[in-house]
């Protein structure tokens, strides 16, 4: 198993866009009123995904993202070009999210937000959407239970496909630290997600009916669904 570091570019990064990110950022610094908004539009879906999964709360994620991008707008002149612009944007967003987690931890009266089960609009639509949805919600709930720094590392490396080296640059830590956080996070997830193993699901009477009916429903279609518990 060597999933981390195998992706030279994060998924969804459009390197072919024109003008490139650095040009847009330079235009913004030079006073172009549209450049920064264009830059944000280019990356906001990925930034949103990272913020949402790091904070596990829609409103908090929206707040953090807004704070982070307004801050990035203001300090764009400090960007030195030693990292990709998208890395720089992700770094600002992830740090804003982790700051929020720490502030939240400092206020024990504030309950941790529940995982966002109301958010269903962007669920994948595979051949077996109901099962995939169930699986995904379980994964997200388990992920939300991890310590924030492990969660952030897994969101960036395993979910978003950033390399360990890029993630380290982004989180401001050593690559070994990223690997360690990923390793511990994954180890914690194993027992939390054990029920999603196909053989475990078949053994579990509570889920057997669901799984069986879903399997029947899906039997006429491509069974290589996105992470469903019935795949072979």
């Amino acid at each position: 198993m060597s999933p981390a570091g195998s992706d030279p570019e994060p998924r969804g990064f459009d390197a072919a866009a024109d003008p490139d990110d650095a040009t847009l950022l330079a235009r913004h610094v030079d006073g172009d009123p549209d450049a920064f908004a264009e830059l944000v539009r280019r990356h906001r879906d990925r930034l949103w995904a990272v913020a949402l999964r790091t904070l596990s709360d829609r409103e908090e994620a929206a707040d953090a993202l807004q704070d982070a991008l307004v801050a990035a707008f203001r300090k764009a002149g400090t960007f030195r070009g030693d990292a990709a612009v998208t890395t720089w944007l992700h770094r600002i967003v992830v740090n804003a999210c982790l700051d929020r987690v720490r502030r939240r931890a400092a206020r024990p009266s504030d309950p941790l937000p529940a995982d966002d089960r109301s958010e269903t609009l962007s669920l994948p639509t595979g051949p077996d959407p109901a099962e995939a949805r169930e699986t995904r919600l379980d994964v997200l709930a388990a992920l939300a239970s991890l310590p924030a720094e492990q969660r952030a590392a897994l969101v960036l490396v395993d979910m978003e496909g950033w390399s360990v080296e890029e993630t380290a640059r982004l989180l401001g830590c050593a690559p070994g630290t990223v690997k360690s956080r990923c390793s511990r996070g994954r180890a914690r997830l194993v027992p939390l997600l054990a029920h999603l193993r196909p053989e475990a699901a078949a053994r579990n009477p509570g889920r057997l009916t669901d799984v069986a009916s879903e399997a029947v429903a899906a039997s006429g279609s491509d069974g290589t669904g996105s992470g469903g518990g019935v795949e072979q």
Partner: protein, 284 residues
């Protein structure tokens, strides 16, 4: 780190994960590998770790940022942009146009009169709305048509920017794109559209004081439902560009938001949030 950290004769899952990441010291790695070779249970843990990675990848957020979050972000960045850019003397000639044309695309700019005339137009618009409210407060209108009905009334005398008669503005120019409106005028237009909804007495007369022209039935409904907000009003610019100003409830209570769209059935992704204004909670 001992390979058998659990005291159960098996490897701790963290040890297996560390092994996969190459984090173990050589001696520990060798011991763990030796154990794995002979232990089906620990190989299963290894397999489960791999499955955790694929589950996480499959749970990745695939969709776009939700429209309401995107609109909020756009508004925050536009506000930041407006706050930080001090107009140069050249821009000060028509600062409002420069501000208001920011968006997804550049649109033909309205030759709006200078700031003085714009202010006069704004004042006239307020007066016109005030007069309308005064007249209609006494009107014994029993019917309560929705603001959309009001906006669809055939009267289309008022134009974008209010009913002021600026000498330099031809009817065509006055009915130009909402995108070309300066920020105060656009904010006022949003307030006026929202005010019709808030007013206790509504009627087709409302349209006379509103910016733009009546919009076709159903216009803006897709945007409002896409945003999950109540539609407060919609007006057509009447210019060649065919823009519409759609006003919905704001995210925050007591606010309204104005979106400029180029088609009646435009959804949230095709809309550009141009103004967020406070609206009175209680009616005058």
């Amino acid at each position: 780190m001992s390979a058998d950290a659990t005291g159960t004769g098996h490897l701790d899952a963290t040890v297996v994960a560390d092994l996969a990441e190459g984090l173990l010291a050589p001696a520990d790695a060798a011991a763990a590998e030796g154990h794995l070779a002979g232990c089906a249970a620990c190989r299963d843990v290894h397999d489960q770790l791999g499955r955790v990675v694929s589950l996480l990848r499959d749970a990745r957020e695939a969709g776009p940022m939700p429209a309401d979050v995107a609109a909020r972000l756009d508004a925050a960045l536009a506000a930041e942009s407006a706050r930080t850019r001090t107009p140069s003397p050249a821009r000060a000639e028509r600062p409002v146009v420069e501000l208001a044309t920011r968006g997804r695309r550049r649109l033909p700019q309205l030759r709006w009169p200078g700031p003085g005339l714009a202010a006069a137009a704004a004042a006239a618009g307020v007066i016109a709305l005030g007069s309308w409210l005064a007249i209609n407060a006494d009107s014994p209108t029993g019917a309560e048509p929705s603001s959309a009905d009001a906006a669809m009334a055939p009267e289309a005398g008022a134009v974008a920017g209010g009913p002021a008669r600026a000498d330099s503005a031809t009817p065509a120019a006055r009915a130009a794109e909402f995108s070309s409106l300066d920020r105060p005028s656009l904010q006022r237009a949003v307030r006026e559209l929202a005010a019709v909804e808030a007013a206790p007495v509504r009627g087709s007369e409302a349209a006379k004081a509103l910016p733009g022209q009546a919009a076709p039935p159903g216009c803006g409904a897709d945007l409002a439902s896409g945003l999950g907000r109540q539609l407060l009003g919609v007006r057509a610019a009447g210019g060649a560009g065919g823009e519409f100003l759609v006003v919905t409830q704001g995210i925050e209570p007591g606010t309204a938001e104005g979106y400029v769209v180029s088609a009646c059935d435009a959804g949230p992704t095709a809309a550009s949030l141009r103004a967020t204004v406070p609206v009175p909670q209680s009616t005058p």
